[in-house]
Each structure stands twice: as structure tokens, then as C-alpha cells.
Symmetry: C2
Subunit: 332 residues, 2 copies
């Protein structure tokens, strides 16, 4: 994870905290909701309807990303994208982020600049008007990015996981399995002879399969579809981060129903569509007869049940991502 510093590319330790902040903060905008941005003990953010939505997420080098595969820009982009999707899944409009980063002091400051650029561009693309209102910079041997994201419900009730009722349609917006396919490509062909992530091979794989590898490293979730779903009367919604089968079960269990997918609607590779993690699409249920907004596609229906997931009426097992199972601790 450590790199030799070049002339003109000093390390974080060489620059010191305040000079580092002086190079990062100008790359970030506080956004429309910031009443007071970075620079004091805390920021002040507008919450026009008297409530705010909040979600937090840690990205850790090793289990969550590898610098041999992701550029710093990718990391910033993905950190923004995944948290924005959690806000969107409540039916809220994302307003702001705070970002705390722990970084090895020997790392070039350009890595932090790249992360900041990715945060800024991810916000601009996925949640225009939202910005970074504050943050923290710490030292660690393991690059770690903690993002907390905020959203505005604009007077609406939050869309929970628990509101699906039999007769609702099940709809999905976003990729189905692309991020998992991209990760499989990276593990297959983006590693060296010893199985360790290799930046040159990874760049080759990405050039060959830009859509699939991009879906893993810098996903483009349908963030604005969250508000559209809430306005259309969505009865339940969540961010599909652990795979469609596992996340559908969360709605089914919270709502006390079964979700029955139409297999043919999920795409050509049913197994990857159901099991593939990290797509960060939105899975929602709508009343029968509701006008399901773009880019949602109807992929099934809610039926009476007790927390099960079905495909064409037949139960399927859960399959997903547990951060503690199968992790071998490689720091890649």
C-alpha cells in the first residue's frame, strides 16, 4: 500500500495535516444544504422538513477494496455512491456527506486528492447539489474511509422495508450481477501468479470489460430513482448491496410476506442476478396499479408468506456477503 514519493508528490507525513487539508478541501464543495461547512468544530446542515435521514458506512482496504484494483478516484466515487444509495432507499433526496479518512502517513497526498476528486464527481453525477460538509483525517496502517450521508424526506414518510403487502408488484432499478461479474473478472485475471491483486493486469481487465469492472469499482446506482419511487407510492424499498436474493428476503421478513420473482425478468444469468453483491440497485414494492417510475422494471410480485423469496413460485436459498466469512485478511 505504500509508494515511493516522487518529487512534487510528497507524502502525507511530509506535508503535515494542515497542508494536506489545504490541498483537499478546495477540491470539495459543501453543497446546497450546507449552512456552515468545514473549518469549525462541526458543520451545520439544513433539514428543511424538521428531520434528516442518516446512514454510515466504512470502506476498509483489504475486505472492501484494493488499491491495486481501484484508483483513488474510484474509491471516492464508490464511497459516495454506496452511501447515497442508502439515503435514496429511504425515499430521500441526498443532501450532504461527512467523510473521515484514516491513511498511512507514508502515502502520497495525491491519493487523498484522488479520493476527494472521486467524491466530488460521484456527488455531482449521482446527487447534484449534495456536497461534503465536513470530515476528519487520521493516521492508520490500513487505508479506511468512513462516510456518513444525509438526506431530506421533503415531507414524505420514509420508505421502510416493512411495508410490502400481498398484491404489490416487485420492481428493481439498476444492475443485476454486473458488480459481481466485475469482481470475478478481477480475481480471475487481475491477479499475479501468487493470486495477489496486480495493478497492471487489473488495468488490462478493465480495458477489456469496462462496463463490468466499472460496475464493481465505480458503480452508478440509480440514486434519483429513490425519490421517484417514494413519490409513486412505493410501499417498501432497499439498497441491493448483498445480492437480490438476500436483500429481497430482508423486505420479505420485515413485511411478513414472500417476494416472488419472475425468473425471465431477471436477465440471462439467474444465479448471478440473485447472488451477485454490490450492485447497489434499488428493490422496491409498489401497489398493484401504481405507475412504476423509470428506471424501475417490474420483476415479480408480493404474495402471502412468511419471509420467503421465490422464483417463478419456487423457493430459493439466500446467498450473499458476510464481511467476516471467507475473508482471509490479505491486505492486497
Amino acid at each position: 500500500m505504500e509508494r515511493a514519493a516522487h518529487p512534487g508528490d510528497p507524502t502525507i507525513a511530509e506535508l503535515g495535516e494542515s497542508a494536506v487539508l489545504g490541498r483537499i478541501l478546495p477540491r470539495l464543495a459543501p453543497g446546497d444544504a450546507a449552512l456552515l461547512g468545514a473549518g469549525d468544530d462541526a458543520a451545520v446542515v439544513a433539514a428543511a422538513d424538521g428531520r434528516f435521514v442518516v446512514t454510515t458506512d466504512l470502506l476498509v482496504h483489504g475486505p472492501d477494496f484494493r488499491l491495486a484494483w481501484s484508483t483513488p478516484f474510484d474509491l471516492g466515487w464508490k464511497a459516495a455512491a454506496t452511501n447515497l444509495t442508502d439515503v435514496a432507499a429511504m425515499g430521500a433526496r441526498p443532501t450532504a456527506l461527512v467523510v473521515a479518512i484514516a491513511v498511512p502517513p507514508t502515502m502520497p497526498v495525491t491519493v487523498l486528492e484522488g479520493i476527494a476528486d472521486g467524491l466530488r464527481e460521484g456527488l455531482a453525477a449521482l446527487a447534484p447539489g449534495a456536497g461534503v460538509v465536513g470530515g476528519d483525517l487520521s493516521a492508520s496502517t490500513v487505508l479506511t474511509i468512513a462516510v456518513t450521508a444525509f438526506g431530506d424526506l421533503e415531507g414524505r414518510a420514509p420508505v421502510l422495508r416493512s411495508g410490502a403487502v400481498p398484491g404489490d408488484v416487485v420492481a428493481h432499478a439498476g444492475a443485476r450481477g454486473d458488480a459481481a461479474r466485475g469482481l470475478a473478472l478481477l480475481f480471475d485475471a487481475g491477479t499475479d501468479a501468487a493470486g495477489e491483486p496486480d495493478p497492471v493486469r487489473a488495468a488490462d481487465v478493465r480495458a477489456q470489460y469496462p462496463r463490468l469492472v466499472g460496475a464493481q469499482l465505480a458503480p452508478q446506482p440509480p440514486v434519483s430513482a429513490g425519490v421517484a419511487a417514494a413519490r409513486a407510492g412505493a410501499t417498501a424499498m432497499l439498497d441491493v448491496s448483498d445480492g437480490l436474493a438476500r436483500d429481497a428476503r430482508r423486505i420479505a421478513e420485515a413485511s411478513g410476506v414472500d417476494l416472488d420473482f419472475v425468473g425471465a425478468a431477471l436477465g440471462p444469468d439467474l444465479r448471478v442476478a440473485l447472488a451477485g453483491a454490490e450492485d447497489h440497485g434499488l428493490l422496491a414494492t409498489f401497489p398493484a396499479g401504481a405507475s412504476v417510475p423509470e428506471p424501475f422494471e417490474v420483476v415479480g410480485s408480493v404474495v402471502a408468506g412468511t419471509g420467503g423469496v421465490l422464483v417463478d413460485g419456487r423457493p430459493v436459498g439466500s446467498d450473499g456477503w458476510d464481511p467476516y466469512s471467507g475473508w482471509d485478511g490479505r491486505a492486497g
Copy 2:
């Protein structure tokens, strides 16, 4: 940092994510401001006056704490205390926290339970009514705690660093140098022959100097004094995390004034009072004639200047804590 698991004390990997959450979440209360707590994609928090205060902070094993010195309860307490103080320093009442933790899978789940207990008790003691509304659990080789804290300005303007004017009095609430004295005791006598943190020796030092070592490991900052200062008309305020001299300079620079301390008011050891970091007291300025609220003590005055810090009229140098300087990367 890794411990052998005992029967009845399984590791996080052995239990798996959802069982771990099942043991942690019941130990935490969402607090009075939580409209929707943990369990969905995001939480919903009340922001009665249409704004919220937000601050975020990362605590990293090694530079920020050592498990050989701090109990898990201490870590949770300190993570709450330091963030609550940043909220208080804006003149806001703390309402809620979100907490993201990255933890080695080989760590006993009792460590996370202890952190949760410390968070709960720290909140109950320092900010009654505030709670933990959400979080995240990740895997890392380095134990890392990211806290984001929220506060309610209750209709008041935030108290910034930039509002001090000549003629104001300078007042301080909280310890002056105790946390630094406690840390020095731990480095002096809480280490083994090789200079590495040693839990048995550290426990001995703590038993001998409970107040000073406690000030370092589980500080008790004057959180409620933040609102009291705002109500009393404080013109500037901040959390003293990097030492009185360094943090006083931040007010002086932001306000375009000098802060002149009365040396005798700072206690018997002026050097430690000025340089000692991590006390998390509140430094504030008030208009001359304002009724300075308890437990603030008047310790100086604001004079015309250009960002300087004086003691009895004589300039003093800055001295404080830069997380990247002098850190040797030991993981303790």
C-alpha cells in the same frame, strides 16, 4: 490485538455479522431524537429547528488508543465524549450518534459489547437523551471506530471560532493538562521493558493515578456547558483537543484578535496546561460583563491583535498534536 477466544466468548468471525449485531444493538438506545433507529437502510432523526449540527471523528488503534491501555468500555466512552464535545462547542445540544466500527474478525465479541456499553454510558452521563441511531460493522486488521455526532441548535446561531472581539473575556471549562499527564504516566510506567504498552503495568498506573489516567482514557468533558455558554452569549467557542495554546490560536486567527491568558489562572503547571492535548475542555469568549456560566472560569481576555496567543501579555509559541508527526506506527 488478537486474543484467544474462551468458551462462551466467541470471536466475531465465529458468531457472524447478524448474531454480533444481535448482541450489540440491545445494549444501545436510539435516544429521544430518533424517529427511526437502526435496522433499515438509514435512520431518521428529528431536527426540530430545521438544521442539524454534525461532526465526525475516527479513532484508530495505535495512534489514537491502545487496547493494552484502554478497556473496550473506555473506547466507547471516549468516542462518545470527544464527539459530543465538538457538538457542544457549537453551542448545540447533542441528540444522536452513528457509529461505524471496523474490527479484526478474530476479536472476541465481548470487545464490541464493551465498546457499546461505553458508548451507552458515556451518552447517559454526558448527554442524557442522546442515543445511537445507526451504525456499520466492517472487518479490518486495525480496530477503527468512526463516530458521527449530531446536535440541535434549538433556534440559536451556532457559536463559531470567529466571533471573539477585543474586550471579551476568555473563559475555560474542563481539565487543563490532565489528559496529557495521564498519557505521560502511561508511557512512563504503563509499558514493558521494550517500551510497548503493557496492560498489567497500565492497570497499576491507573489504580495509582485514577484521575489523571482516567482523564486520558475516559475523559469527562463539560458537554452541557456548551449550551450554557451559547445561552450566555458566548462570542466564540471550541473544543480544546490539541492543547490550550494551539486551540486558543485557532480562535485568535479566526477572529483576527489576540487571546491573552492570565498565567496564574491556568494552574500550577503552565507548560502542561498550555500544551497538553486531549482534555476536551471548552474554550470560549464572552462579552465583558456577561454572566459566565459554571463551570467556566475566566482565564484571560481578548485584545487587539492578529491571531496571537499571549500569557500575561507575552507571546507564547504553539504546541500541539499533529496526527502524522512523531507517530511511529506501533500498533500497541
